[in-house]
Assembly symmetry: C2
Homo-oligomer: 250 residues x 2
Amino acid sequence: MRDISLHPGENVDDLMFKGLRIIQNRTGFRFGMDAVLLAGFAHGRGARVLDLGTGTGVIPLLMAGAQPASRFTALEIQPDMADMAQRSVALNGLEERIRVVCGDLLQYRQLLEREQYDTVTCNPPYTRADEGSASQQESQAVARHEQSCTLEDVARAGYYALRYGGHMALIIRAQRTVDILDTLRREKLEPKRARLVCPRQGAVPNLLLVEAIKHARPGLAWEAPLTVNGPDGTYTPEMRAIYHMEDENG
Amino acid sequence: MRDISLHPGENVDDLMFKGLRIIQNRTGFRFGMDAVLLAGFAHGRGARVLDLGTGTGVIPLLMAGAQPASRFTALEIQPDMADMAQRSVALNGLEERIRVVCGDLLQYRQLLEREQYDTVTCNPPYTRADEGSASQQESQAVARHEQSCTLEDVARAGYYALRYGGHMALIIRAQRTVDILDTLRREKLEPKRARLVCPRQGAVPNLLLVEAIKHARPGLAWEAPLTVNGPDGTYTPEMRAIYHMEDENG
């Protein structure tokens, strides 16, 4: 293990995939299933990938493991999170492939190269700016609540960064389906592939994965809904594959 | 059976629900599973229901059976189809409850009462006006292809007819998800409830049911995906319930 400094309250967690590790706070914002689902769904085509609002950097870290030929830019507004992501990149020896940029995506024209990316990923704030209350700790509030940017801001930054025909992949609460599809289309990122995520068979979907293509024609291909847990409460085989878990009986 | 005249090529088919019957052409447009799914999904709240592009009238006939207290207006552009629907209404003795109107929904201001309906249903043309070729027979072409009206036309007519807070329910090919959600929101009919229909467990969804509420706030509640066929190729229990089939083993 490289000599990477940990700040008080931080842990090194095993991503259980290609030996990758990530630095996280024990109590603050920690990556969740949504980030893993998005990394699996995006399977970023192409050589250059941008992650907007990368947080601890989990999405580029997982995608770097899955796509050894790709290079990543990871944009994060919160300096402490960007610093943590940068140290995770170093911890994994991925400095050549993942570049962490600390900045506000509203400044995308200054921060990003125009039309240079094949894929943009984003796990945007889950709650509309006009609903609910801002949550506990500031870092969690920024990550979970639409206070630093809206879906429109995310789409505009993605549009700017993507090459013609490039892909933008997002995950969002299913109840915001209309918001995300409508915003993407308005920003000339046409939704082309989507998938609902259901906690259990026969349960109400709670998350939506969607991939849009810059300047594509209309027409959305739904994938079969993804079921997270089987009847016994453990991950379904498909979820185990997304989490890159080995089959213990295999 | 009442003395209702049948035209050459027409049959009386049993709707297998509350003794209802319907007149259809043996070879022309015949109602499909989509109409039955929509009638089941809409379960039209309220006393007054409007069906736009009713075809043979299958949706108001099925809903009249399920909601004995509701009254229906059934609008159809094709005179031969409207006439067939009118004769089916008479055949079932529903003249007091279902009014068939022959006219073009683009003329909604002349044909419909404003803000008088609790629920509007529509099984709109499946294909975008700008894609594919018009099909064989004219009556099938009008029913299946967006040549007489667009989704926007349908939404505008629905908006005009619905009272404040009224519901509009539609079924559409799943690949047109963005078109329908986007159009409804733009026309102030906010999508509030949706359901994907999958032919089999684990299969790609091919139909979308959606219900919008006039002037509602954003926020879409997905229902669990509906699976049509079980592993043995017969209807799932839920589909049997939608088709009002008695359980033969029950």
